[in-house]
Amino acid sequence: MTRTESAAADTASARTATRPAGYAVARIGGASFLVHRRAVAVAGLLTVLLAAAVVLYLCVGDSFVSPVQVIDVLLGRPSPDELVVGTLRLPRLVVGLLAGAAFGVAGALVQTVARNPLASPDVIGVTHGAGAATVAAMSFGLVGHTTLPYVSVAGGLGAGLLVYAFAWRRGLHASRFVLVGIGVSIALGSLTQLFLTKGDYLVAQQAKVWLTGSLNSRGYDQAAPLALVLLVAVPAVLWAAWAQRGASFDDDTAVALGIRLDRMRLGLTLIGVVLASVATGATGPVDFVALLAPQIARRLTRTAQIPLLSSALTGALVVVVADLLARRLFSPVELPVGVLTAAVGAPYLMWLIARTRSRSGGSTS
């Protein structure tokens, strides 16, 4: 065998002994990350779509602004459309992007823990907790307008963790988690209705708008805390993406692999509940994004677990497109974005339920 032949043979044997098919290994210094190739391609595609949606969102409105002008504004070049694009449309868009991403990741994490594609922060009490707290604070005039998002965050966090604690009995059982969540959500939903009927008519009207989830008159005041939380969550989400690999097995196999199930589930739930609560604080409950985004993303990447980055991108995309429609569909009336995500979400939910049942109850998480 010549030298080149043996070198070729060496590379060939190195290739057969390589990382799992479909993955690449990214090395940064001493760190190494397994990267699913198709997931990267999907994330790239979603980013392109999202960029297109962003430009379109900024172009369309009461007055049309050309894409060239929009890109000028985005790049910080002087432009006559600075006011319309940069001051009126952009802040609202940023809130939508961030909230959509947060809802997407939150949904992915909750669905992983619950092992249920129908689970989401809406189901485990976060949304209704935030709703009940906010409406209560509004009706009783407890706090000012600026503190309201914090009340909502506290309500969401409180309800989410309450559900987790109630569902705990010598470990967390996935179906108990979902059932307790539904129970607590219904209770909190009734409480919200009570506040709405007991409270002042005008306040109730305001509360109802908030409860639909809206980007109307949202801006950097709401975006800033959300961006901060998302930034802090980045390492946590990297950890979560790794922990998910073990979470997609049955309990026995996961324990055999040395995974501390309780700690891992609590960690994933905590990150999900915080993200969903903070996003709800910014926009109100935007229905179905947390449910839809992870399921769409997973069908695209075909990964064995729900892809977090693609879930975030899908969530952002759904909210931006829905809000674009919400702004323009019945112009000059601007609908709350939550109305449209729900309109897209409900048929999808029904399709998903029908599909799950036809699979003889097999779990598709």
């Binding site: 990382r19 098919a21 397994l34 993406a241 026995d252 692999l257 040395g258 064995a304």
Partner: protein, 269 residues
């Protein structure tokens, strides 16, 4: 010279809710051997294996690994020493063989160190050893029962543990695949000096493949030792309540249990 034992149980009591399954059991798993646990349905053999692999917390008593209490050791440390293949493991949806086997490396990895050369070598060796390298790119859902079981064993192998616990690894397999899996287990023990503990349903297979046989009944160890010493007609009657004749297996010479009294229609009195 009696063999050493890294994995032992002392006064082990195991229970599900209020039902005690194993009561005050002492046990030593001989190193470097294939130990097979047999017994009738619901005798506690799988429960015992789950406790040895820390999938089940003892009600009282302890499982010791190198003299340290299993319940107090970090899960990752245990997972680098003891591999467990549960009775019916569930794969993540749509996962490929290579991806599944690679996840056996989890206890050796950290979230910021997800892949090393050692991981690569262990996975390649596990695929090769189990004859599953050709299946690497196939989805696990599409495999036959025998292939799937070999893939799960490959995952446990990639974990690279000195002890390997297998809970009924031949259930649901046809006889050719059963033999295939058991031969693989023997080969692992021989080539890589792995200590293996397996729960098996079939007494004859147990007698054929075990170095050390443990017979259980109602949560207690009735007999243990070399199959040739342990498997007798008396033991079969005591443990399974079955009348039988024990002959020598014409292929391996190990004891072979043949049920003794054929069924006959009741005599008309």
């Amino acid at each position: 010279m009696s063999p050493t034992s890294r994995l032992t149980a002392q006064a082990l009591t195991l229970a599900y809710e209020d039902r005690v399954v194993v009561d005050g059991l002492d046990l030593e798993i001989p190193d470097g051997r294939v130990t097979v646990i047999v017994g009738p349905n619901a005798c506690g053999k799988s429960t015992l294996l789950r406790a040895l692999g820390r999938l089940l917390k003892p009600r009282s008593g302890t499982v010791l690994l190198d003299g340290a209490e299993l319940a107090r050791l970090p899960g990752r440390d245990i997972a680098r020493t003891i591999g467990v293949l549960p009775q019916s493991p569930t794969p993540p949806d749509g996962i490929t063989v290579a991806d599944l086997v690679a996840r056996g490396r989890q206890p050796h990895q950290k979230w910021w160190q997800q892949w090393s050369e050692a991981d690569e070598r262990a996975v390649a060796a596990a695929l090769e050893h189990t004859g599953t390298a050709d299946l690497a790119d196939r989805p696990v859902d599409e495999l036959s029962g025998g292939q799937r079981q070999r893939v799960w064993i490959a995952m446990a192998l990639a974990q690279d543990t000195e002890l390997l616990l297998l809970d009924e690894p031949t259930t649901y397999l046809d006889i050719a695949h059963q033999v295939e899996v058991l031969d693989l287990v023997r080969r692992l023990n021989h080539d890589r000096r792995r200590t293996v503990v397996a729960v098996l349903h079939d007494l004859n297979q147990a007698a054929r493949y075990a170095d050390h046989l443990i017979a259980m009944k109602a949560g207690r160890v009735v007999a243990q030792g070399r199959p040739a010493d342990v498997v007798t007609a008396d033991l079969v009657r005591e443990v399974f309540g079955l009348t039988s004749v024990v002959v020598s297996d014409p292929v391996t010479g190990s004891p072979l249990v043949v049920p003794g009294i054929p069924w006959q229609p009741a005599a008309a009195d």
